[in-house]
Every structure is written in C-alpha cells, then in structure tokens.
Assembly symmetry: D2
Homo-oligomer: 159 residues x 4
C-alpha cells in the first residue's frame, strides 16, 4: 500500500529516563475518576537533539485513573539542558494494559513486555529563547517503556 501523502515525518529527538517517587491517591473518589500523584526523583536526557537531566523533585504527574482503567496523564516538571537552560515540560497521554492479567501485574509494579500495554504521550515545552526555542514550536510524540518505579520515554519531534 502506498504511504499516505501526509504521513507524519517523525525524528527521534531525545529519550528521558526518569525515576519516580512517592505516590498519592484520592480514594474512594466522588468524581468517578481517581486522582493520583507521583514525583520525578531524578532522570537523564540523552539523544541527538537534547542532553541533560530532569531537575530532581521539580514536579511530577497528577493523572486521572478512569473507571475503564485508562490512566490519563497530566505531568509537569522541569528539564535542564547541558548548557544550563531550564525547560518546562507539560505532558498528556494515556497508559492502559492490553489484558486484565497485564493490568494486575502493572498495578503490582511488576515488569511486563513493552508490547503488552499502551503508553504514549504528547508533551509541550516552555523553552527559553535561544538554541532550545524550537522545542516550544514543535509537536512531539513519546513512546514509553514502563519499568517498575520508573519509565523511559522516547520522544520524536513531528517534522
């Protein structure tokens, strides 16, 4: 089959490996959804277009867990590039297990194969004027590997 003429051109920009800490739950919720909180303990940024670190304890994720088991991310924290620039990151996306067995394993924080769940995100960045300014005007897609107590997300810029 021919590729679609407007098929997005995606380029690997960077990968963020992040350790998470703490966990808050609002439960039982009166809203149908369950709010949670988890925090960025530390992290590293590697890749062709950005290198640096996650600023420790500079924010975290405040997701909603939907009644159907879908986790709806609402993360925000700060990155620091190797040149010292500070960049604010907001991240939306979804995580869900493809089977009930995988969902149970993930709830117990056990390791599962990358193809047994869906974890995809789309971040936005507030970057300072200068070499990282391009990050504030491009869309990105992140493909995530969940590992117990951490995750590794590969970010691709939409060209």
């Amino acid at each position: 089959m021919e590729p679609h003429p407007f098929h997005p051109v995606m380029e690997h920009a960077f990968t963020i490996a992040i350790e998470l800490t703490g966990l808050q739950w609002v439960t039982p919720t009166a809203l149908g959804d369950t709010r949670a909180g988890v925090y960025a303990a530390e992290g590293t940024i590697t890749g062709p277009l950005l290198q640096g670190k996650v600023i420790p304890m500079s924010g975290g994720d405040f997701p909603l867990v939907r009644p159907n088991g879908v986790i709806d991310f609402d993360a925000r924290y700060f990155l620091q590039a190797d040149d010292g620039a500070v960049i604010y990151m907001q991240n939306r996306g979804f995580r869900w297990a493809k089977t009930p067995e995988i969902a149970e394993k993930m709830a117990r924080n056990e390791d599962v194969p990358a193809d047994s769940y869906y974890m995809r995100v789309s971040p936005k960045f507030d970057a300072p004027a200068g070499p990282h300014e391009w990050m504030s005007k491009h869309m990105f897609v992140g493909v995530a590997e969940k590992v117990p107590g951490a995750n590794r997300i590969h970010y691709f810029v939409v060209r």
Copy 2:
C-alpha cells in the same frame, strides 16, 4: 541509518476538512499574547476509521498568537459519526510560517504551499462507549493543510 527501535507506528485514521467562519480578536492585549476565536461552520470526516461530519457551529478554536508569531491552538467542537454517535474533540497544536513572506500571505488569508509552514496538532476525544471508544484511549497526530478560510487535517493514530 537504522530506524529507532521505538519509532512510533502511525496509521491514517481519518481526515477532517473544515470550513471556518467568524473571527474574534482581543487586541491590543495586555497579556503579551493575543487571543482569537474562529468557528466551525461545517466539515466532513472521511477515512478508514471514522466517517461523518463536524456538527455545524458546535464550537471552534480559541488560539493564542504568541509574540514570536506562533499560533498556539486551543480548539474544541463536536463530531458526528455516520452511525449517529457524537464525539467531543479537543485539539492542541502549533502553526507558524517558515518565512516572513509566507507569514504575510497567511495573514492575508492567501494560499501557500503545504511545505512553507508548520501546522501540526494532537487531539483528544471524549467518545461514547461502543465502537468509537478506542478514540478516547489513543493518542493522535494531525498534519494540516491550511487553505484560505478552511483547513484539512489528516489524523494518524499512534499505535
């Protein structure tokens, strides 16, 4: 070069061709940014995974125009699938011209080539339980063609 092992797999889901009407501007703004409004007059949805229409005047876009010329979308309106299902769509993204000449043409609502500007979006959907429910748990990227008074956005689901 080898493709990245986590390169996103994108599949064309549907294309929305939308006619826009009205235009509001808050100007001169006190906030640094300029708020605008534009409305969904009508539209059609075609493609392998959804067919239907944009519900006329069911919402629009309320973008911010940044001091650097980047348009930061904040759209929300309703779709109706051919089976009658109503789906709420929220859309974030960016549009900017690659040269000042193209920016001037776009401001005058003239036609410009698709590769002379950047217009990419990432929508989220509130879909009813049933055949369209998958839309509420997947991320999407939209690649847009801007035409005067309208646009055509090709949406790809991130698998």
Copy 3:
C-alpha cells in the same frame, strides 16, 4: 461573631444575561463523566463596571456532567464592551440541585427557585490593554440564576 479579618471584599461588577442554544451530548460515555455542549446565542451585559453584549455564537459551554449529578462548567466565549473592546471570557464552576425533585425539574428545563440549586462560577478574562485591562488581573465570583434556556449571572470582583 466577628467577621474574619481577611473576609473577601466583593463588589458587584456586572451581570450577564445570556440566551443559550443548541445542545450536544456524548452519551453513553466511556469516561464515567458525560460531556455536553451548549452555545451562546446572545446576551447583554449591564452593571457599574462593564456594559455591552455577548458576541452571538462566539463560543459556549462544554461542561462535564459528573456521575454524582454535579455539572462542572468549562465555558469560553467573547464579550464586547460598549466602547467596542473585545474581551475573552473563560468560566469554571459548578451547578447541582439540592434535591432529586429539583434535579428532575432542571433536567426538564423547568423554572425552579434560585435557592433550590447551587450555581456559582469563577471566570478569567483576556482583556485588551486600556480601560478594561483590570479585568485580566482580578478574580471574580459569579452567582447564577438559572432560567429555562437561559441564565443570568451576577459577577462580583474580589477586591
């Protein structure tokens, strides 16, 4: 009892009487909540600090209806002051009936007494530089009267 030393000083700023049109529902929803849409057909703004109109069909409300019956507003539309200035309004708030009988009457769009339900909002404004700029830097509370097919909201600035 002594009033609290930081009791908010509230001043009536203006009242917006708005006629609503259209109604969209995403139902049955897969999210636990139900998304709706309703639109600003027309409206008038009267009061000591702003006079003008709601710009017809310049936006509307895209509320979530919670499983417990609380309506969680997410409105956005444009106002026009008598001096011609255009002002963008975003509005969050809650509406719920104090008894099941009142809830049923409101669902049938019947008239009910103002003290039989709770309908309070807190808006934010993007106002242009100039005489209305103060609206962009103050908080407001709106106390609403719901009438069938319309509402009248009295806005008070928090001094």
Copy 4:
C-alpha cells in the same frame, strides 16, 4: 447603599499556611511570559471546616509571570485531613504589587503589608466520597497573605 440581592455569601472554611522551597525559572522565555516553579515543603490546615496538613513535596505552583508583572498561578498539590483523607487541590489566581516599589521588595522576598499587593485565588478540589465530598462541589475564594518564603491563604466557601 443596599447590598446587591445576589451578593455572594462567603464563609471562612480553612486557612492553609504553606512553606515553599526551590525555585525554577525558564528565562529568557521565547513566549512573552516567564514560567516558574516553586514547591510545597510543608504546611498546616486550620479552620472550622478542614484541619490537617499539606503533604510535603506533593506538588507546587507552576505560575506564568506576565509581561505586565502579574503572576498567574497554576498550583496543584495534595492535602491530608486529620481523618486521613487525601484531597487534591488545583489553584488558579493572581498576584501583583500595587506600586513598583512594592514589586521590587516582593522580588527580593522582603516583607510587605497585606494591603500593598493583590493576591487572590480560586481553588478546585478532588475530594474522596465521604465527609469531605462537599469540597468537590463548591466554589472557593482565597485571600492570601504573602510572607517571605511562605504564604498563608484564607479560604472562603461560596455558599
């Protein structure tokens, strides 16, 4: 003058005294606004309708500083009531100094009188089902006292 017939009835609900830590800045920004981050080190909640604490390092504020000097808050963190219930708080609002001299003192983190600046907020809460559920269906206004490295916000429920 007669009070307005719909003048909001406000009742003091609780006061949150919070110590702040850390400070991140995205600067110089490419967006016109400047993003900052500051974190909730610890805090106490006292008052007639809620008693407890701010969960240490459970979130913070990610405000935008507007070109006109207005700080536009976007805070989110977790509270814990004395009965153990965990409550998620999101807070929007504004802070600005009434004169340039006060603005300079506040930028140097010096003490200033409560009537020399404007600091008002409007929070929303995700509370669990049970005794605190009312917090999820009422609007609130907070009147803030800024003290160096901390703040004390008096929250009033809109009845």
